[in-house]
């Protein structure tokens, strides 16, 4: 009950935090009034999810404030009876909005935005908009729109004065979709729109707007009457950060909306609810511990055994131990903490509470499956001095040395460190979005994973799944791809499999030299391909840049996801560049040959918050033409990675990850081999280690 109470209070705070600055979101799920945009943006880094519904229209929008002045959004809409022949349609659209000028005491905020920049164009529109606050409570907005936002009382495009081409908006050559409809932007007639928000209180505000949208397509298709140009609405902000909106729109319909804004920098409670690490005991007490008494030598296995048990209680696995000459070195694997710095801090304190006080110099090597990654060296006396120091974490960091460790400590120093066996049995969920017949398909079931590590670096592992509830295999879509069906046959895998062998591999990881990591993996590498994969990574601790190369021979697996193979095989591989940019940003480029034999590159940009919450976007361009690629023109998507610990306050390395692609096709498809080296080592390298050092004494 007590924990629950804390959870509730924590949740309240973390939901409430962004509320003070919360912007009203429109039916498009972006800062705005009712249907019209305002110049506002969300606080930097925040995202919001919105569902709005009114006459024959449902809009579900995810908006993310990527940069302080730029937000992007993805919308998935249901439009009933919009298409006369095919009935209802599901529409995907992307928007982008730039805050050109911030509001000042004397001047308005100015925004410029584009709605539906790459979809079917049904919401295709552009705008320039000004918003200004008056007397604290009134926010007045006026703007000019093009495209869909120029439906009412439109006039000839003022931009036509610059260039005559702005006068007409050409028909959209939709093609296979998925590309930017640049030929239309800011072209054709323009119209004015505007409105006002009145904040009655912190929680309640009233909205009114004059809309320049006449819902022409909807009117023709299903008789939506939007002749009356004025919309009114009310917005109520709950204390938990949820917003409810109600509207009376176009004199003919009512609308409802629920939205939720979240700051990824927040969590259920700062530092979480994990048990505290044992506090440092006075050195003289440690000296008197039974395992440190004179009959044992200071580097006796007695102390090592006690240390192994203490580390184990902290979720850390000891795989190497050396002591002597005033120095103690350990090699550990962190199986619990999302932050490597926290595992280092806990290991250091466990060492200080166990090892003989004559050992003053500590070295802690972080490793994964027996492969050493990074070494942290610190003085035991600094721990005593700084454990409760006001600036303890940073002063400890400034006195510590962080370096690459390519040799580690021989695992023979800890009896029983290898072979090591681990396993996990639990539930899994797999989701598929945007099937026009059923926008959300899922597969839920039980999963068993096991790994056996006979010696450091060598891992035999496998994952099998048994679906229990499944709608993935109901899909009736058949691939019409003219490329080799390397991904687009996914429905066949879902249909023809029952018990699934997802992966079954032998993998060897090692350190060929300083700052270098290497991997060879063979077996059933992923659900659709098996083969051999080899990778080399150069990743200096002190560098923001890392480079890697990978080459694979892959053969397509049978649809039953058991042990057989099909005829299709391919030599595929990529050269990769990783760049940890200043701030929260991370860029990656992978260039090479993809599974369908196409050559090209994938560009990814992530925003990774210090607590591990990650939102990213990617796209892949290859020598496959947009036409040959098919619907969507090229591969692209967004990905989310959310540490579970942010929500339950308990240390776990489990993350909720989801890649959302508008459509999965065969061009630009990359082999999904596990444990690619950069991701495998990133959390233990200096960049992330230093970033999360605040958790050292947690």
């Amino acid at each position: 009950m007590r924990r629950f109470g804390r959870f509730l209070v924590g949740a309240w705070l973390f939901l409430a935090a962004p509320m003070a600055q919360a912007q009203n979101l429109s039916t498009y799920g972006t800062p705005g009034l009712i249907d019209m945009p305002t110049a506002d943006v969300l606080p930097d880094g925040h995202f919001a999810a919105t569902s709005s519904v009114f006459r024959d229209t449902v809009r579900n929008t995810f908006v993310f404030q990527m940069l302080p002045r730029v937000y992007g959004s993805f919308r998935y809409s249901y439009l009933r009876d919009l298409d006369g022949q095919n009935g209802s349609i599901y529409d995907r659209s992307f928007d982008i909005h730039f805050l050109l000028r911030k509001e000042t005491a004397r001047g308005p905020a100015i925004g410029l935005g584009l709605r539906d920049i790459g979809g079917t164009g049904i919401y295709g529109s552009e705008y320039v908009v000004l918003t200004k606050t008056f007397a604290d409570r009134w926010r007045v907005t006026g703007g000019m729109g093009w495209g869909r936002l120029a439906g009412r009382n439109s006039f000839s495009n003022p931009l036509g004065a610059i260039d005559g081409r702005f006068d007409t908006r050409p028909n959209l050559d939709f093609g296979t979709g998925g590309t930017l409809s640049t030929s239309q932007w800011f072209r054709g007639p323009a119209a004015l729109f505007g409105g006002v928000e009145y904040k009655y209180s912190e929680k309640l505000s009233f909205l009114a707007e004059y809309s320049s949208d006449v819902y022409e397509v909807e009117g023709e298709a299903n008789g939506f009457d939007a002749d009356f140009p004025v919309n009114i609405g009310v917005n109520y902000k709950f204390e938990n950060g949820v917003n409810l909106n109600g509207y009376y729109m176009y004199g003919s319909t009512v609308g409802f909306q629920v939205s939720y804004t979240h700051d990824p920098r927040s969590s259920v409670a700062p530092g979480g609810y994990d048990p505290a690490a044992p506090a440092l005991k006075p050195a003289e007490q440690v000296a008197l511990a039974s395992w440190n008494l004179p009959e044992e030598t200071s580097d006796s296995t007695g102390a090592a055994d006690v240390l192994r048990v203490r580390l184990d209680q902290e979720g850390l696995r000891l795989i190497g131990y050396q002591a002597g000459g005033g120095r103690a070195a350990i090699e550990i694997e962190n199986n619990r903490y999302p932050s490597a710095a926290q595992s280092v801090g806990r290991a250091a304190r466990a060492m200080a509470n166990v090892l003989h006080p004559s050992l003053d110099h500590f070295a802690i090597t972080l490793s994964e499956n027996g492969v050493p990654i990074t070494k942290i060296e610190l003085a035991r006396s600094d721990l005593y001095e700084l454990e409760n120091d006001l600036e303890g974490a940073w002063r400890t960091l400034s006195r510590a040395t962080i370096s690459d460790d390519s040799s580690g400590i021989p695992s023979e120093t800890v009896p029983g460190a290898f072979p090591h066996f681990s396993y996990r049995f639990g539930p899994y969920a797999r989701l598929s979005f945007f099937d026009p017949d059923e926008p959300l398909r899922y597969e839920l079931g039980a999963e068993f994973e096991a790994s056996y590590i006979p010696v450091a670096g060598l891992t035999f592992s496998g994952k099998v799944r048994q679906p229990i509830l499944n709608t993935l295999d109901d899909t009736v879509r058949e691939s019409n791809s003219i490329l080799p069906h390397v991904r687009s046959d996914w429905p066949l895998y879902a249909k023809e499999s029952n018990f699934q062998v997802n992966t079954l591999t032998g993998e060897y990881l090692w350190r060929p030299g300083d700052d270098l990591f290497a991997r060879v993996t063979a077996g059933y590498l992923e659900e659709m391909f098996g083969g051999v994969s080899a990778e080399l990574l150069w990743s200096p601790n002190e560098s923001r840049l890392a480079l890697g190369g990978e080459i694979n021979y892959a053969r397509q697996r049978n649809f039953d996801m058991l042990f057989g193979f099909q005829d299709y095989d391919i030599l595929t591989g990529h050269a990769s560049l990783y760049y940890d940019m200043p701030g929260d940003y991370f860029a990656q480029i992978d260039a090479g040959r993809y599974l369908a034999g196409d050559w090209g590159a994938t560009f990814s940009l992530d925003r990774e918050f210090n607590n591990g919450f990650k939102i990213g976007a990617f796209f892949t361009l290859t020598d496959v033409s947009f036409e040959d690629f098919g619907e969507g023109s090229f591969d692209k998507g967004i990905k989310l990675e959310i540490p579970l610990s942010l929500f339950n306050g308990k240390s776990t390395q489990t993350k909720l990850t989801q890649v959302i692609r508008p459509i999965l096709r065969d061009g630009g498809a990359r082999l999904a081999v596990a444990n690619r080296l950069y991701g495998y080592t990133r959390d233990e390298r200096a960049g992330r280690l230093v970033g999360q050092w605040g958790r050292f004494y947690r």
């Binding site: 804390r6 920098r265 006075p282 303890g392 974490a393």
Partner: protein
């Protein structure tokens, strides 16, 4: 093949400890309806050694419990709860906490300590560093007015005392809090206090039960 589904579902529902390592998802699923028996060797050892006990009540959270003294070093005492959360005190004043959701990592409260122990009314500054929800350290300073709160009768376990009361009102740009300390006038010991522990947790009341 439906027997396979049945087995998979059955094991999912009834599996406890089906992983060799931490597994939060499985823990939370398999833990439904079961009360977890807590046995931490750290706590058991302290209970056996009849360590000093501190009573704690979280005012805003309406929760309470007891803490056992685990370690004393360098003028600071670390007290832990049965759940393994800890509070670090310096001469009875909260200087840190772990696992209670406050994020208070360390503090410099030397000026406050001097003032309340000496009984002098004066303005002091205290400093706290907090771990934020984004895993960064934020050091904040608070300006506090320490003043006498007169005398107050209190009943302890074995006797009654006319406690000397000190009040400390603190504020920063965006936070204010009030700490109150009750001293035993005969021994000079801090016997009870009401102290702020950070924005997320608010105020706690601490009372030493046995020494």
């Amino acid at each position: 093949m439906s027997w396979l589904k049945g087995i998979a579902l059955g094991v999912l529902l009834f599996c406890t400890g089906c992983s060799s390592q931490d597994d939060v998802i499985a823990d939370s699923l398999s833990g439904i309806g079961r009360k977890k028996v807590f046995s931490d060797p750290r706590i058991e050892a302290l209970q056996e050694s009849r360590s000093a006990v501190l009573q704690i009540a979280f005012l805003e959270l309406e929760a309470s419990g007891v803490l056992l003294r685990e370690t004393s070093r360098d003028g600071r005492d670390t007290w832990i709860s049965v759940e393994g959360a800890s509070i670090i005190l310096e001469k009875g004043m909260i200087v840190g906490a772990r696992g209670v959701g406050s994020g208070m990592m360390a503090s410099d409260v030397s000026q406050s300590l001097n003032a309340i122990y000496s009984g002098q009314s004066q303005d002091v500054v205290r400093f706290h560093s907090f771990l934020t929800e984004n895993d960064e350290i934020e050091t904040r300073s608070y300006k506090c007015a320490v003043e006498s709160g007169g005398r107050q009768d209190m009943t302890l376990v074995d006797r009654k005392v006319n406690a000397r009361v000190m009040r400390e009102s603190c504020q920063s740009l965006d936070q204010t809090f009030l700490n109150i300390y009750w001293f035993d006038p005969t021994t000079g010991r801090l016997i009870q206090s009401r102290q702020w522990m950070g924005g997320n947790v608010g105020v706690v009341i601490l009372r030493e039960l046995a020494v």
